[in-house]
Amino acid sequence: MSTLAMPQIDQSVLNSREKIVRDLKRFTNPINVIADVEGIVPYETDALTAYKQKPMAVVLPESTAEVSDILKYCHKHNIKVVPRGAGTGLSGGALPLADCVLLGLSKFNKILEIDFENRCVVTQPGVTNLSLTKAVEHNGFYYAPDPSSQIACSIGGNIAENSGGVHSLKYGTTTNNVLGVEVVLMDGTVMRFGGKKLESEGYDLLGIITGSEGLLGILTEVTVKILKKPQSVKALLLGFQSIENAGQCVSDIISGGIIPGGMEVMDKPLIKATDDYSKAGYPRDVEAILIVELDGTESEVNVLIKKVEEIAKKNKATYLRISKNDEERLRFWLGRKAAFPAIGDMSPDYLCMDGTIPRKKLPEVLREITKLSQKHGLRVANCFHAGDGNLHPLIMFDSNIKSELKRAEKFGADILKYCVKVGGVLTGEHGVGVEKRDLMCEMFNDEDIQQQLNIKQAFDDKSLLNPGKVYPVLHRCAEGGKMHVHKGDIKFKDIPRF
């Protein structure tokens, strides 16, 4: 386990633990307050398992009023609160603090209203992302953002992290698909931002709360928009003899006026790993494969497929296959979606990075990653959401060999720094959390960070809500940890990750 600088523990709060636990039981059904060690253990980490910390107590409120009462109480008594959705986050956003009350939203698990007329769903935040689509698909509708963990991650967590998915170039990320929230601020104030209407007046409070990683308020209700499913979806599987050709093909597709629903690149090490693991039938004699998924009406998709085919040939694609049916299309995706477990099979441990880069920089960044791989003496495989520039290098190492975790972390930090150097960003969809917190200075200067801290202050004057996340403690810029997976022992290992 790695160590991490966190906000100073408030000993006076810890000393009052018994009283606090007693008091919390006044605000909700006493069985919703967990204070025994065994009960607390499941909450000591999220999916970034390199870091663990038991909270002082866990509380699982059942209503907005309960959340408000608990926060009001904690605010009054200067008790830190860490919110938690499904705990599937990859950046340690729900990592507890020793002197915190961990506030879990697992009991907010009901869909409140399906409103086809206004094309939206009103739900409690603990409902999983996929359940929203399941609830409306009988009428041909779906909820667009599809993070890979969608069977388990909660919609409240999606809003906290502004989750993406493989279709974000065309359909946007969470922020473009949320209409409204009910939120409780740290002092217990309950507010509503947005609603069933398309937009609100005044400052875009919905916009700032989305992606704020649980630092500004706790969500208790969510309204999301739903879309009609496209009539037809087809995919191309393309193979190239160089990353440059694959990268150029991506650029030419976009310059050609085509916005694919999804577009994914895998490099040679990952092709081998995923094909060995999933038997997807990928070509093995290529340096890179590119999956392009197109959706729309039947004839539109056919026209676009033809255009992409021409662009691929122009860019010297040596392998080209068009899905004949949905089964074949899903097979194209099979290997890509098995990327994480496939790497887990190849290496006792791996770190998953999450930078975003300008698409055209892909060959340059991959060359740099190869160089860094040699420098740090560790293997790496790369997958890339080419549509939106989100790169996930998977760094392989063995934590039993002394210094390898440290080297892997250093390697990861070097990759992210390079992403920023070429005009990209530190995190595309996993969030900053504690994982990339200490790299924030790569992208922002003190004034930028201070401005964001001042915004935090406007919502949470005592800085009690999820402190120690996103922004460096004491503005210290050093290398942080990454999503570390040991012996495939990923938390929620049954959840696909891509």
Binding site: G195, Y203, G257, P358, R359, K360, L426, T427
Partner: protein
């Protein structure tokens, strides 16, 4: 008259705001001064950003453009058009409303007002297309957020907070916007002579199919006379649905819709590409209220309440147009009818919506609040956010509501 300062560099903006901050001198921030919108404010100094203009970088294959905040929206659109791209939130040319002639103003002004055109319900608002910004806060500090990529969760999404903040948080200096390829073909299905209730049902029905409509508006007959299109019959109400995309797809989807709305087949017609473009440009540019001397209001409601809302004012003979598939009502009311003004606002609030003054004579802008916000908690939070950027409240003070 306030003293005008027109800097030509970001560092000059910094120096100017720092000085004003230390002297606690309020500043009115303007782009091209094309949109007299917001509460009327009086400042001893005025900061014009029109000289802070030019395209910093434009990478069509990366789908973004980075510009200085005072850059003319028209110039940006011309540049994008060369690469067959556009801003898909369809920015309005508000010049027609305010002055009777084209004046799109600056991109900084458009961002500050978060105004989006008819495609908004499909493509998102301007706020969904801003990838990053740089600006100067009330302390004279340069701050930035976001980047040039669509997938970015590094830190708070401050770009969203800045969009629609009417210059009360920062003086924008640089803006990064997402751009999209232009659609090859546009066609519009028109259904004539039906009432609003039916029109709203049609929008809803169309959105329950997979045809992906990108425009849906309703014009009552009495506001139609400004259109000058050969194939547009303006004698009765018009319900219009736009389809965009590859030509083959648009043709196919038009036919699908014709089948869905077979019961109206006697009153259905189709506007071809060229006329369709003009129809939606005129709609987005609010040509129906061209150079209005009355009070023009923007009312946003959950679409299911739109009919109920307008029914309530049946006897008032409101001049209105419904856009965004029923989510938006543009209304024009007489400048001296403050009773009606308040009835409209109250009814909008009652139905979960809000009403914003878009254009009004000064005496109305002094008397009536620009925004609807009634939630005191939101007002308090907004004020704290304002102070977090601008502690001495010198940037466009009171432009949104008193204090912010």
């Amino acid at each position: 008259m306030s003293e005008i300062y027109s800097p030509s560099s970001e560092s000059e903006v910094v120096d100017f705001i720092k000085n004003c901050n230390s002297g606690e001198i309020p500043i009115e921030i303007l782009g091209h001064n094309s949109k007299p919108i917001g509460r009327l404010i009086q400042c001893s100094k005025s900061l014009h950003l029109k000289n802070l203009n030019g395209i910093i970088e434009y990478f069509p294959e990366e789908l973004y453009i980075k510009v200085k905040a005072g850059t003319s929206l028209s110039i940006i659109e011309v540049e994008l058009d060369k690469k067959n791209q556009e801003l898909s939130f369809e920015p309005s040319d508000m010049g027609f409303l305010y002055s009777g002639k084209s004046n799109k103003g600056s991109i900084g002004g458009a961002v500050a007002c978060n105004l989006s055109g008819s495609r908004r319900f499909k493509a998102g608002a301007l706020r969904d297309h801003i990838l990053g910004f740089q600006g100067v806060n009330g302390k004279g500090e340069i701050i930035k957020s976001g980047g040039t990529v669509v997938k970015n969760v590094t830190g708070y999404d401050v770009s969203k907070l800045i969009t629609g903040s009417y210059g009360t948080l920062v003086a924008l200096t640089e803006i990064v916007l997402k751009v999209q390829p232009k659609n090859e073909e546009t066609q519009t299905l028109l259904i004539h002579n039906i009432n609003l209730k039916r029109a709203l049902n049609i929008f809803s029905k169309a959105m329950h199919t997979s045809v992906e409509i990108s425009g849906a508006c309703f014009y009552p007959a009495k506001v139609l006379n400004f259109f000058k299109l050969n194939d547009l019959d303006t004698s009765t109400s018009i319900t219009a649905i736009r389809l965009e995309g590859p030509r083959i797809s648009v043709l196919e989807r038009i036919n699908t819709l014709k089948k869905v709305f077979d019961e109206y087949k006697k009153t259905i017609s189709v506007l071809e590409h060229y006329q369709s473009k003009i129809f939606w440009k005129d709609t987005t540019d609010l040509q129906f209220f061209n150079n209005s001397l009355q009070v023009v209001l923007k009312i946003i409601l959950p679409p299911i309440h739109t009919d109920q809302f307008l029914n309530k004012f049946e006897n008032e003979e409101l001049k209105y147009v419904v856009d965004w598939a029923g989510n938006l009502i543009w209304v024009e009311i007489p400048e001296n009818d403050s009773v009606l003004f308040r009835q409209l606002r109250n009814e909008a609030i009652k139905l979960g919506g809000h009403m914003t003054i878009i254009k009004a004579p000064n005496h109305v802008r002094i008397k009536e609040e620009f925004l609807t916000t009634i939630d005191e908690n939101i007002k308090v939070l907004s004020l704290k956010i304002k102070e977090s950027f601008d502690p001495k409240k010198i940037l466009n003070p009171g432009k949104m509501y008193s204090g912010a």
